[in-house]
Symmetry: C2
Subunit: 319 residues, 2 copies
């Protein structure tokens, strides 16, 4: 029997106790040491789930697409976890209601777990919570984990660092394709989804995306594919599900999936090391005599922050 409360919650979650799982999520959202503990508990059993990122601007229809994908995955006999992350909203209070509405269709299905992820923590906190959430659902045996996140800023790119494959959902209204290219979406998208394909401009957007993709010098198996959907009618979603499945299979067979996951793990290690070193930097700056002197010079305006930072870095790093 595990002696600590977290391990015991983890074991209960393994036994399909939803409340224990929800409690674990609350803990990893709010407590950094709980997050680390859960990551360690989850690690040995994680690595089997397919992690699909779904991103795009607000109003593109991501939630509808995700809900439809959940239904198809369940028909296909696979268990599903959904993490819905909105880094542009600091309002975690709303998401609980959101979860309840979204869970309506799946409340009695023990093979579906849907969670909105929010945090008021520090830089990179949301991405860390998201990674931990994926590991947790993965370790609990979910076959597919859908990570839904709004927008295309830096935090979202970080969050997508957890996904095996990323679908970028666009709508004709979302702005032109040149902008999607500028935003770095070409680099992160494995699949482009033009949703609301019945609207004016959908065909034009698809043509523009195709034109852009034709300029992409990568071999075709690495290029994003393009799909048209009308998520509210369920149209094109089976194709999206199928496409995701096939691309992931191809990535697995070719070894690209393993490579991608390795890169993601290393990026995570780097991030963790940097974050604990940052904490040490802050401590040293407030406690050590020579560093405090430099800090005082900055405070008085005698020294600019850049020169001060160089001095402090030199004195801290492997002296």
């Amino acid at each position: 029997m595990p002696s600590d409360p977290l391990s015991s919650l983890f074991d209960r979650a393994l036994d399909a106790d939803r409340r224990a799982l929800a409690r674990l999520f609350t803990l990893i959202e709010n407590d950094d040491s709980a997050l680390r503990h859960v990551m360690r508990l989850a690690h040995p059993s994680a690595g089997n789930a397919e992690v699909v990122g779904i991103t795009g601007p607000p109003g593109a229809g991501k939630s509808t697409i995700v809900d439809r994908l959940v239904h198809i995955a369940r028909k296909d006999g696979r268990s599903v976890g959904v993490l819905a992350v909105d880094p542009t909203s600091p309002f975690s209070g709303g998401s609980v209601l959101g979860d309840r509405i979204r869970m309506r269709d799946h409340y009695l299905d023990p093979e579906v777990f849907i969670r909105s992820v929010a945090t008021r923590g520090a830089h990179g906190g949301l991405a860390a919570v998201c990674r931990a959430g994926v590991s947790l659902l993965d370790a609990l045996g979910k076959d597919i984990i859908l990570v839904e996140t709004v927008g295309v800023g830096q935090t979202e790119l970080d969050i997508l660092g957890v996904a095996d494959i990323v679908a970028v959902v666009l709508v004709p209204e979302a702005g032109d394709t040149v902008q999607a290219m500028k935003a770095g979406l070409l680099e992160i998208a494995d699949i482009f989804v033009v949703n609301k394909a019945d609207r004016d401009g959908a065909g034009q957007m698809a043509s523009a995306l195709r034109a852009m993709l034709s300029l992409d010098p990568r071999p075709s198996e690495l290029k994003p594919h393009l799909l048209m959907t009308q998520a509210h009618l369920g149209e094109g979603i089976s194709e999206l599900y199928e496409e995701t499945y096939l691309r992931l299979k191809d990535m697995r067979d070719s070894g690209r999936l393993a490579e991608r996951r390795e890169r993601q793990s290393i990026a995570e290690v780097t991030r963790l090391v940097t974050s604990s070193i940052s904490a040490e930097v802050e401590r040293a700056m407030s406690e050590e005599r020579a560093l405090k002197k430099t800090v005082a010079e900055v405070k008085s305006g005698d020294l600019d922050p850049y020169t001060a930072a160089e001095r402090i870095t030199t004195s801290l790093w492997r002296r």
Copy 2:
């Protein structure tokens, strides 16, 4: 005569050469070493401007408020710099047009400089560019610098780390007051502006904000004040200008402004130290034998990222 091109651009900007100033901004957006250089050049002459942050959700009317404030400041005989930052938009292409539209009214006024700030750089890059931009405009002698940024996420909070005073602009549609509180706006706001005060729900929002503020245990000079505006009609903007002026005066007289700026400088030093140490961490992880072994164990899945990070941190830090 300065021998390097950057110093020479800086000197031309000091001589009110707008094109040189615009060029400096482009350089600090795109080149990290140029940013450092500009910060060093600007530091000795910076520290005299009043830096006012204006934030709030999209559509709250921030740009209109900023434009009105520019007019009032000019009537008041003060020179103005405006930095408009949208961290939720990765589309820097649009901002040039935005600048042109916004500059229309001030094109012939050498005492106004307006710039949209964008970057596709790394984490924290946008905040760094914003800080450098403020220092630059400060060093060039602008009396007031308005930093306008959308939303209330982490990046925005970082950007507001540069401001002497922060006005949070809300509209009745922007969601309820409880949400503003949850988002940490209570902590960063020095002034709450309920804009579009003629709309339904404005009075209700103001009452709710007042109720919230009455629970704030801080002394009244530290509590956010509440103003109602109708920026499109120019109503309430003189009051906002006045309020900003008076609060800053009070902060200056009481020493709180100096304290705030000290805290901001130290936070910047910490950020810079952390960022250069991160670069070193990445280098060490890819080059050093013992670290490469740990990295390999993570790649193979034998080691979880958290344990690996602890090992690497221990080996790098002041060994």
